[in-house]
């Protein structure tokens, strides 16, 4: 990686939801700030900026990661996926649909991160057990729902994704 000067912006190029993007960012700029305020992808939310709440979770090369703990520069050359990439055109994905049907969100602020973690869980593991789902969810804080509807939605989505019965 070339040496960066701290008082100047530098180009950062990565793939965002399948499309190539390029932004100029200071070396210390957080990935969350670059996504939200430079690119305008505001679906990724910032809750604590110290990696605990999970609201900013995105996928970096398929793995869930806290965008608030990453510098924008670290995304160079990566494939980044955010909540904006979950939709199928204007339609909700089976995971999003299950969240809606189970009232698994209220204010929606933590939701983007939760969806990205579950999507990263189900992609390689469409038949994930409830324990694995809870484990994936345990890295997220939600203050509205009490979590039970989120677990129900995740179970329903899993069954739909793997073609099983609609409800768990």
């Amino acid at each position: 990686m070339p040496r960066l000067t701290k008082d100047e912006t530098h180009p950062v190029r990565f793939t965002l939801n399948g499309r190539p993007v390029s932004v100029r960012a200071y070396p210390r700029a957080l990935l969350t700030d670059a996504l939200r305020h430079e690119i305008g992808a505001t679906g990724t939310h910032v809750g604590c900026e110290h990696g605990v709440c999970g609201a900013c979770t995105v996928q970096v090369d398929g793995e869930p990661a806290r965008a608030c703990l990453m510098l924008a520069r670290q995304a160079e050359g990566c494939e980044i996926r955010t909540v904006e990439g979950l939709n199928n055109k204007d339609a909700l994905s089976p995971l999003q649909e299950a969240f809606r049907e189970h009232f698994a969100l209220q204010c929606g602020f933590c939701t983007a991160g939760i969806l990205m973690s579950l999507d990263a869980l189900f992609s390689p593991q469409p038949d994930a057990e409830e324990d694995a789902i809870r484990e994936a969810l345990s890295g997220h804080l939600c203050r509205c729902t009490g979590y039970a509807p989120i677990v129900q939605a995740a179970l329903a989505a899993r069954n739909r994704i793997k073609g099983g019965p609609i409800d768990a």
Partner: protein, 994 residues
């Protein structure tokens, strides 16, 4: 007009209209909104001290920093504003930014306006504030002591308000009753902690002397008046707007208003719009928390467990400033101080005190957790004391069904309920008998298992006059009566016949737009997706009043009710329009499937859109007596919400739901960890408008209550230092800690609200903490007296009650220890090191600035400023937090070349430290042994975010110092202590978080 088709959507769990956007990253929260080009970022300099006088604020260096447009101090703010309104009669000022004194950690001291947030925060670190430390007081009872440090000298003490109330004849009942049973209760501080923090965007137009503020404020909009007054402008010069979406509030976002004032002033001074998004440390340390409270409650009780009188003594801790609407937490429940029980006599003494902690404000449950914890722990205690069944004591005291509407001793008018029926159903349907069997089985196997109960009356739709109960009747008469709870709703129909609803309800995720679409679609016989609802507010364009906003669970009873009335009025008008075109009587019109037609004759109808469009396109054809306005605005307020009476009776809320909870809790025999085995919660919230959303409110409130019961506490040191500044310190429950409760409903409609609904959002925050505490008490002590239960109930608190106090270790396990004693978070330690140099050489080095510069870890220079005084500039790090500090070091008790005492104070943007160490030198065979013993205190940001790392970090820094000294003396020398230090260094570095 026939009502044949209404009610079909309401009562169903319709999919939320909010969700497609929220699930796709298209929400519009405050930080997502576009801002004007040239909008600047705002950052705050905040107090690292719980209590200190401000000697000076030096902004020179910050003002010169890259990107900085303005540096603004408390004096700059005070020069352009007025003190914020305080809700009691007291000689005290309340500024949004500290002027000459800081009174809590996190209090704003200065603000920076710069071109971006990073540069603004850089510059904030360059503001130099000279503080003179003052003694702090953090506990409410201690704050009342005659010799306590006084926060506001104009008050003369920390007691800002005291009132006594007397209803019925409590003294006579206490004299006559065979039992007087009382308990003391300490209720701690917690906060609902939304995942989205505060945000404000502000601008100023000098030509009109007008401010435009957008903020994720939640109401009540009575605060609009507070902000306008403080900014010294008429109400129409403060345009206040809210974003379409808000990332949770639970009351907390009411407390953003001091930052609206500050951002508005910053925009004015900077001459450009400014934007501020609070960070998590700012949120935890300096937004608002719920109040902590010290309570003594006593009951006069008959032999069979009937309570005839209550005596309350409450000391409410509102933190450093009494900010509007406080002391509302103390008075919100004033009409409900007898809970669900028929108790005709009551005495209340209420004291409000100020302490060196974050100011308090709205938090879900608002006053309910504090009183019900006391009242329901008392019910539990009464049953134990009298040897009666706990459920039986509750049942004997419940208000009977035939008593409704029921006037409580302190003046509330309970609208409806059948508490005994709801309780009986819960016992049956919730499986209490089975739970008893589980408890018996667990106990038989030697395990600790307890069952708890709690009965709660959940008030909703606050009377805007309740807070005036804090004034004496004479003061109230002078100030003029305050009462009511206006809700507004506007429905309009456009020229294409589509319906738009606008309310000032400012939801933070509760799905208001969906429920209102249901209400209106039902009324007009339209599909739900044809109705569009806006629930954000623009005070310059929308209908609103002081009660507008999202608090006191007022949506379903008040806002949905006002919308129902507005829809009914427009429907009446449309029925007349359609009737004249269909040649039928208005009473024979029905609204169904998008058409308006004759009842019983589906051929004689016209489309809803066509009827509605008539008024726009051809008003001249409207029937006589029907005007052309296709817009209806309703301002609704319930007549039951009267001002407090001359006898201090107050109907503090319009609606009163009922909750009965029970739960089983098991305490782990090895770890003392409490675990919820089963939780049952029965609710009567009147008519249920949307079952899934009601259950969502119950589950959400329950989860927050589980956090308050087991995990969450705002932790302060005795010096006011704040100890829970990250979400790794202030622990919120995750999916692993929150079980799914069994939710039951019993509906008794409210006769006072248009739809029969009551509020439901806050109840479990009131009932669940004490239900859990009662179960823990039962697990710890099945019979007889139970120990005092103080939340949060952690394994660390339960372990000594189960296993006894931990025996002292036989030999010290650590050289360093951390303790919380008067004066702060104190680190003490000792150690020794052997160096290859003579005593004289070591002595000389310790007093030589060049040597000190070389061996102090992170030193950027040491200057000798006096014979025994040095100044050092050092960079120190604790965990992830590194900061630069200026340190003053004094040498005293010099005994050359044998011993010296070093005293130091270090101040930096990240916090403060102070300490004293005694160093003694003794000869050894091949050099000198240096022995040291130190005591250090650490405060400020470092203590808030790095508390868990402090002792390890102190060892590391001190170890580095002596290793460097050894190296400087010729190196190589080591001792057991140094080796231990080294291994500790390695452990801290490799081990990460402990």
């Amino acid at each position: 007009m026939k009502d044949t088709v209404s009610e079909k959507l309401l009562g169903q769990s319709a999919l939320r209209v909010e969700d497609p956007a929220l699930l796709s990253g298209r929400g519009r929260y405050i930080d997502d909104l576009p801002v004007a080009a040239g909008t600047l970022a705002l950052a705050f300099v905040r107090s690292p001290h719980g209590h200190a006088a401000i000697r000076s604020v030096d902004t020179a260096e910050a003002a010169q920093a890259t990107g900085v447009v303005a540096v603004i101090t408390g004096e700059d703010v005070a020069a352009r504003t007025r003190s914020m309104t305080v809700g009691v009669k007291a000689d005290v000022e309340c500024w949004p930014m500290a002027v000459d004194r800081v009174r809590y950690v996190g209090e704003p001291v200065a603000m920076i306006v710069a071109t971006d947030r990073y540069l603004a925060e850089d510059a904030a670190d360059l503001v130099v504030v000279d503080y003179a430390m003052l003694d702090a007081v953090v506990e409410p009872v201690a704050a009342l002591a005659a010799d306590a440090p006084v926060l506001h000298t104009s008050l003369g003490s920390n007691l800002i308000n005291e009132r006594r109330f007397r209803y019925g004849d409590p003294e006579a009942e206490f004299d006559a009753a065979p039992h007087r049973i009382g308990i003391d209760v300490t209720y701690p501080r917690s906060a609902c902690t939304p995942i989205e923090t505060y945000g404000v965007i502000a601008s100023y137009e000098p030509g009109e002397d007008a401010y435009d503020v957008t903020s994720n404020f939640q109401g009540p909009f009575s605060i609009h008046a507070v902000v306008a007054r403080s900014l010294n402008v008429p109400g129409n010069r403060l345009r206040l707007r809210t974003p379409p979406d808000s990332g949770g509030s639970f009351g907390i976002k009411q407390g953003v208003f001091p930052y609206m004032i500050l951002a508005a002033i910053a925009a004015r001074i900077a001459g450009a719009p400014v934007k501020w998004i609070e960070d998590r440390l700012e949120h935890l340390s300096a937004s608002v928390s719920a109040t902590n409270r010290q309570t003594r409650i006593e009951a006069a009780v008959t032999a069979d467990g009937r309570i005839t009188a209550l005596d309350w003594d409450q000391i409410e801790d509102c933190g450093a400033h009494l900010r509007a609407p406080e002391p509302a937490t103390l008075y919100r429940m004033h009409g409900n101080m007898t809970g669900a029980y028929d108790i005709p006599n009551m005495a209340i003494r209420n004291r409000v005190v100020l302490t060196n902690k974050t100011p308090t404000g709205l938090n879900r449950g608002f006053g309910g957790p504090q009183i019900y914890f006391a009242l329901e722990r008392l019910m539990d205690t009464i049953a134990r004391h009298l040897g009666l069944d706990r459920l039986e004591v509750i049942r004997r005291n419940l208000i009977p069904a035939e008593a409704f509407p029921y006037r409580t001793a302190s003046g509330a008018l309970y609208d409806s309920g059948d508490y005994v029926a709801a309780l009986d159903r819960a016992v049956e349907e919730g499986g209490l008998a089975e739970l008893y069997a589980r408890r018996d089985k667990a106990r038989a196997a030697g395990r600790r298992y307890g069952i708890g109960f709690a009965c709660v009356v959940e008030p909703s739709v606050s009377n805007m006059g309740y807070i005036t109960t804090v004034l004496t009747p004479e003061e109230r008469a002078k100030a003029g009566p305050k009462n009511g709870a206006q809700a507004t709703s506007t429905i309009s129909i456009d020229p294409l016949g589509s319906v738009t609803v606008k309310v000032a309800s400012v939801p933070q995720g509760q799905g208001h737009r969906t429920v209102l679409a249901q209400v209106v679609a039902d009324k007009f016989g339209l599909p739900i997706d044809t109705v569009r609802v806006l629930a954000d507010v623009d005070t310059m364009r929308d209908a609103w009043s002081i009660a507008s906003g999202n608090y006191a669970s007022r949506f379903a009873p008040a806002v949905a009710g006002a919308t129902e009335i507005a829809a009914a009025r427009l429907r009446d008008k449309l029925a007349k329009v359609a009737a004249s075109q269909l040649n039928i009587a208005p009473d024979d019109v029905i609204f169904e499937a998008g058409r308006i037609g004759a009842a019983g004759n589906s051929d004689n109808s016209l489309s809803f859109a066509r009827a509605a469009a008539t008024a726009h396109w051809s008003p001249g054809t409207l029937p006589e007596g029907v005007d052309q306005t296709m817009r209806e605005t309703v301002y609704w307020t319930p007549p039951e919400l009267e001002a407090p009476t001359a006898e201090d009776g107050v109907n503090s809320s319009l609606c009163h739901g009922f909750i009965f909870d029970f739960c089983g809790i098991e305490i782990d025999p090895e770890t003392a960890e409490p675990r919820i085995d089963r939780y049952v919660t029965m609710h009567d919230c009147g008519r249920i408008l949307h079952p899934a959303m009601v259950d969502g409110q119950v589950r959400g409130g329950f989860a927050q209550a589980v956090g308050a019961a087991f995990l969450e506490e705002y932790a302060y040191g005795p010096d006011g230092s704040f100890r829970s500044g990250t979400l790794a310190d202030y622990l919120l429950p995750t999916v692993m800690e929150v079980p799914d409760p069994v939710i039951l409903h019993h509906e008794t409609l409210s006769p006072f609200t248009p739809l029969g609904a009551k509020g439901v959002g806050e109840g479990n925050c009131m009932s669940t903490p004490v239900c859990i505490a009662n179960a823990v008490a039962d697990a710890l002590a099945p019979e007889g007296d139970a120990p005092e239960i103080v939340l949060p109930v952690t394994a660390a608190k339960l372990a000594p009650l189960i296993f006894g106090d931990e025996p002292a270790p036989q030999e010290p396990v650590s050289e360093t220890k951390t303790e919380d004693t008067a004066g702060g978070r104190k680190l003490t330690g000792e150690g020794r090191a052997v160096v290859q140099a003579s005593r004289e050489d070591v002595w000389r080095m310790l007093l030589d600035p060049a040597t000190l510069d070389a061996i102090i870890p992170g030193s950027h220079g040491v200057r000798k400023v006096g014979e025994t005084r040095f100044e050092a500039d050092v960079t120190l790090g604790v965990g992830p937090v590194r900061g630069r500090y200026k340190a003053d070091i004094d040498l005293s008790d010099l005994d050359p070349p044998n011993a010296v005492t070093l005293s130091g104070q270090a101040v930096g943007a990240l916090g403060t430290g102070g300490g004293q160490g005694r160093i003694t030198l003794t000869d050894t065979e091949d050099g000198t042994e240096i022995a040291y013993r130190y005591e250090a205190q650490i405060g400020g940001k470092v203590a808030s975010v790095g508390g868990r790392l402090l002792d390890g970090a102190a060892k590391v820094v001190i170890g580095e110092f002596f290793r460097a000294l050894a190296r400087h003396c010729g190196g190589g020398a080591s001792s057991g202590a140094l080796a231990r230090l080294r291994s500790l260094v390695d452990r801290v570095i490799k081990g990460g978080r402990s």
